[in-house]
Every structure is written in structure tokens, then in C-alpha cells.
Symmetry: C2
Subunit: 307 residues, 2 copies
């Protein structure tokens, strides 16, 4: 596991790629908008432990220029996954593993459709990283990453990647049940990434200060748990309580989707809201509030795209 | 029934007041923002049958100046009803009737709390009237008004008012069940007045063109029917179908709440969404989508008010 390609060099891809490059690994970045700036000035990172810069990262606008690697990390937004069938193949040799660090549900399936389920891994990032300007990644708090195999318990090869991340200074753990972890992450993301947008662009403290939106947040969490249960993942109500209780300390927090929305970027409507609703419905579980939030965000995103 | 006071001289109050004044009745307008313009240039109306002007309407900024009348028509937005306890008493003699032509649920109760249930009447306006500039009321299509007693079948005195409206050229009918009529009007208003705002400010044709919002509109209608049924009003599903089918011909229509929203005016959140949800809940009937729409509109309105 010596060479790594990073697909998408925004906040997540830029940060983890830079951390791995700083640890001496051969990291190659697929970059679009930031390419010229990074070529000229390097990739800068502000992490909780201090600042550093990757002076001359390997970066290109096409994966053909990057060539085959041992590990591909998919870190752009799920809305770009429609390009994966063109983007992934030039990065693959016979043993290449592909790890998606994307939000919501469905990314592993999209990767697996191209490279096969047996080469697919997934992960979740519990962080608040931002790309504040081209070539500059800001990570104010030490977050954590959870990595897992797609549809299988953690394996030896997964533990190798975990060890690699650890050596690079990344806080990381392995999970035996990636799919359940994805539903657990939705417990917070569905209400707070969604309502901060649907209520007109407000921070999480304002959602909590509005007694009706606070009640609705908690009800949406219960619906996420119902959806998870319908798919065989028993997440207790106490987990929703924990997710509610961890929110006030975040203060006037802007979830990543609200940042996307306010910056005019595409929303990950399908992976965070649409796909969970569809999977629950396919298992016979109707989630009325979550579906309504999905419908509204989908319409808001469509109107956004037309501007 | 010779003297009539109009509380609120926006679109509804301005139009019906002008029609009654044109018929020779003693109509007195409580006006705020439009008072100076109307004093100087009269009250102008563009109706389907042509244009007319009330040259020198009786108008004042306080009801004390208007004095007691036989009939009070409450026609401002329900958000102003908090002022009724001050505004109504100067208009009352011992036989004064008060007719509210306002949207949603709760207006009759608010009037009755001041003048008594036995003097309270209500009505619904199925129109698309606009006050396009100070002192100018535009009514592009002939609408209709339904009038009823509060909590009683239509009475002789109600029929007198119906006859009065008819003589003034207003299309009008009496109902024996005003409360049910209010729920029937909500069948269209709840989804379309609400979703056109919650989806970011879109016209009704765009709601229908989005298959998800269209589905949600129909589901919201079903919830209104469920709420009505819980309160004893049996409105058939076919009525919801009729309300869906009458919407495409409206084209790129802006419901009154969307016009309020876009003009920065207060939304009638409580009367159209909040009160119906609360009454259904009190009758043991939870309406999750309608409550969620209420919560979102309430939050959007609060954010609006802060601007």
C-alpha cells in the first residue's frame, strides 16, 4: 500500500491526502478548480496540531495522468459519482482497492458497480473540515474516521489501511458493520443538514432554539432509526438522544450541506435523504417527515441549479 | 343593515367594501397605509365587468372615527387579529353583527371572544384579488363568497346579508356548515399556499411539474381530510381529487401566501397551518406532513420577520 490517488481535492480529500503525503506516501491528487493554485503554491493545511504545506504534490486534472495506484480514495461529493465510470479505470491495477469517504448511502454500491464489491471499502468522516480558499484546507478540531469493508466485517487488509492512517496521524477506527455506521451518521445528518437549509439557512443553534424545529429534529431522528431497523440495524433511541445532546455545544454550527447550499454548490440530496428513504420504503417502512424533507430539498436544489 | 365598517382595506376589504359602497350603502373603511392616497384619489377597482372608483369613501385610521355600524367586515390578515380587542368596540351598537372574511381557522373564535358568539358570522372568499398599489384593487376573475353563521346553520339575518351582497353584484352563497367549508378551503390552501413558499418561492405549476412535490401536495390534502374527519366533517377523497384537477388551469399561479411572502408581509401561519394541526391533534389525529410544513413555515416566517 504505497501509492494513493485522491479523487476530489476539496476539504476531505485535501486534508486526508495531505496528511498521508506528509507521512511520506506517494499521494496523487485529481484536482479541478484548485489545480493551478496548488501547482504554484502547494497544498496548505491548518490542522489542530499546527500548519503544514505539501510543497509540490502530484496533481493532475485527469486520472490518466495519475496512473494506477494501490489505493483510491473517493472524496468528492456524491453528486459527482456519475463521473466515476470514466474516472476510476485509469487508476486501477489488479490489486487496487477503492475507499469511498463520502456521505450518506449508495457510494459503495456505485464504486462496486465499477471495480467489484470485493475491492470496495468505505468510511465515514466525523469532522468539520473546510476548504476555505483554493489550496487551503482548514480543520479546526481533531475529528475521526471510521473505515469498513463493503458488506463484510473488517479484514486484515482494512486493518493495514487503518494502520497507515494512524501512522499518518489520523484518528481512525475500523468497523465490522459499515452499513450500520452509515445509518448512525444519518441520525444527525438527516435533521441538521436538512433543516438548517429548509428553514431558510439557519445554524444548528437556531434549529434547537425553535421548539418546533427541535421537536421535528428529534422526530426525524426517530424516523432514521425506524428506517435503519427496517433494514436490520438496531440502533437504540438513546443514540438519537446522544446525537441531540451533542448538538448544543456545537454552537452556531453550519453543517456541510448548509455550507454547500450557501456557496451555491450542489447538495448531496440523493445520498443523504433520497437513498435512505428509498431503501426504507423498499423494506416496507414509510418515513413521512424524512421523505417530505427529501422532496423539499430536492426542489430547493433544482431551483438553485437553475439560477 | 345600512352601515358597514370594513376592517382592513387591502385586497379583500377594499374590493368588497367598494362593491357595497358602489351599491349605495354607507361603507366606512379602517385604513392604515393607503389612507392618504385614498383620501386624495379615491378607491379604484378593476373588476371583471369593468373599472370604477369610489370618489370620496368614508375612511379613517381609527375605528373611533368611524363610529358604530350595523355590520363589521373583518378583512385584514389574521396576523392582525391581536388588535381586534381594541379595534372592534368603537364599531359596536347593541345589534352590530361581525363578519370575518379571513383565511384558515380561528377567526370566528377570536371575534366571538370580543362580541359574543351570537353576533359572529364568517365567510370564505374564493378569489384572486390583489391590491396592486395603494388605493387600487385588481380582481381579474369573478370569484365567489360563501357566508355562514358561527356554529349555527344559516339564519334569516344571514340571508339578509347574502341578499345585500347579491344586490351589490357580488357572487355569494350561504352555507349551513361554515366550519366544514373552512376545512374544505384548507384542502387546497394547505399544500399550495405552503409548498410554493417552502420549495423556495415557486408557482403552483412548478409544484405540479415536480413529481415529488405533486405527490406531497396530494398527501397533504389527504391529511387535511383526516383532520376534518377527526373533527366530524366528512369530506370525500374525491374533493381532494377535484382540488388537484382544478390547479393546472391556474397556470403559473401565486397563492396569496406566496404573494405575502414575496412582498415581505407577515404570513398567516397560525390560521392556515398551525390551528388546523392543533385542532386535529386535540381530536387525537396526528398530521405529520402538515405539522412539518407548519413548523418550517413558522421558522421561515420568523427568519423573515428578523430581516
Amino acid at each position: 500500500m504505497k501509492s494513493i490517488a485522491i479523487i476530489g481535492s476539496g476539504a476531505i480529500g485535501g486534508f486526508y491526502g495531505a496528511m498521508l503525503a506528509r507521512a511520506g506516501l506517494d499521494v496523487r491528487f485529481l484536482m479541478r478548480s484548485d489545480l493551478a493554485v496548488v501547482k504554484a503554491h502547494g497544498l496548505r493545511v491548518r490542522a489542530p496540531f499546527g500548519e503544514f504545506r505539501i510543497e509540490r504534490p502530484t496533481a493532475a486534472a485527469t486520472t490518466a495522468e495519475l496512473g494506477p495506484v494501490d489505493l483510491v480514495i473517493v472524496a468528492w461529493k456524491t453528486t459527482s459519482n456519475r463521473e466515476l465510470p470514466q474516472v476510476l479505470p485509469p487508476l486501477l491495477h489488479e490489486g487496487t482497492l477503492v475507499l469511498t469517504l463520502q456521505n450518506g448511502l449508495g457510494a459503495e454500491e456505485q464504486v462496486a458497480a465499477i471495480v467489484g464489491a470485493e475491492r470496495t471499502l468505505g468510511g465515514l468522516c466525523f469532522v468539520g473540515i473546510n476548504r476555505t480558499e483554493p489550496g487551503l484546507i482548514v480543520n479546526p478540531v481533531e475529528g475521526a474516521v471510521t473505515l469498513g469493508e463493503f458488506g463484510r466485517p473488517a479484514s486484515a487488509r482494512l486493518q493495514e489501511i487503518v494502520a497507515l492512517f494512524k501512522r499518518a496521524g489520523i484518528k481512525v477506527r475500523a468497523t465490522d458493520n459499515l452499513a450500520e455506521e452509515r445509518w448512525k451518521k444519518l441520525v444527525w445528518n438527516v435533521p441538521f443538514n436538512g433543516l438548517t437549509i429548509a428553514a431558510g439557512g439557519i445554524t444548528t443553534d437556531c434549529v434547537l432554539a425553535d421548539e418546533c424545529l427541535r421537536k421535528l429534529s428529534r422526530e426525524l431522528m426517530t424516523e432514521v432509526l425506524q428506517g435503519a431497523a427496517a433494514l436490520g440495524f438496531a440502533i437504540p433511541e438513546s443514540y438519537a438522544e446522544f446525537q441531540m445532546s451533542r448538538t448544543p455545544p456545537l454552537g452556531a454550527y453550519k453543517p456541510s450541506s448548509l455550507l454547500d447550499w450557501q456557496a451555491g454548490r450542489e447538495l448531496e440530496v440523493e445520498s443523504i435523504w433520497g437513498e435512505p428513504v428509498r431503501r426504507a420504503a423498499a423494506a416496507g417502512c414509510a418515513l413521512p417527515r424524512m421523505e417530505m424533507l427529501y422532496f423539499l430539498l430536492r426542489a430547493l436544489a433544482a431551483k438553485h441549479a437553475k439560477r
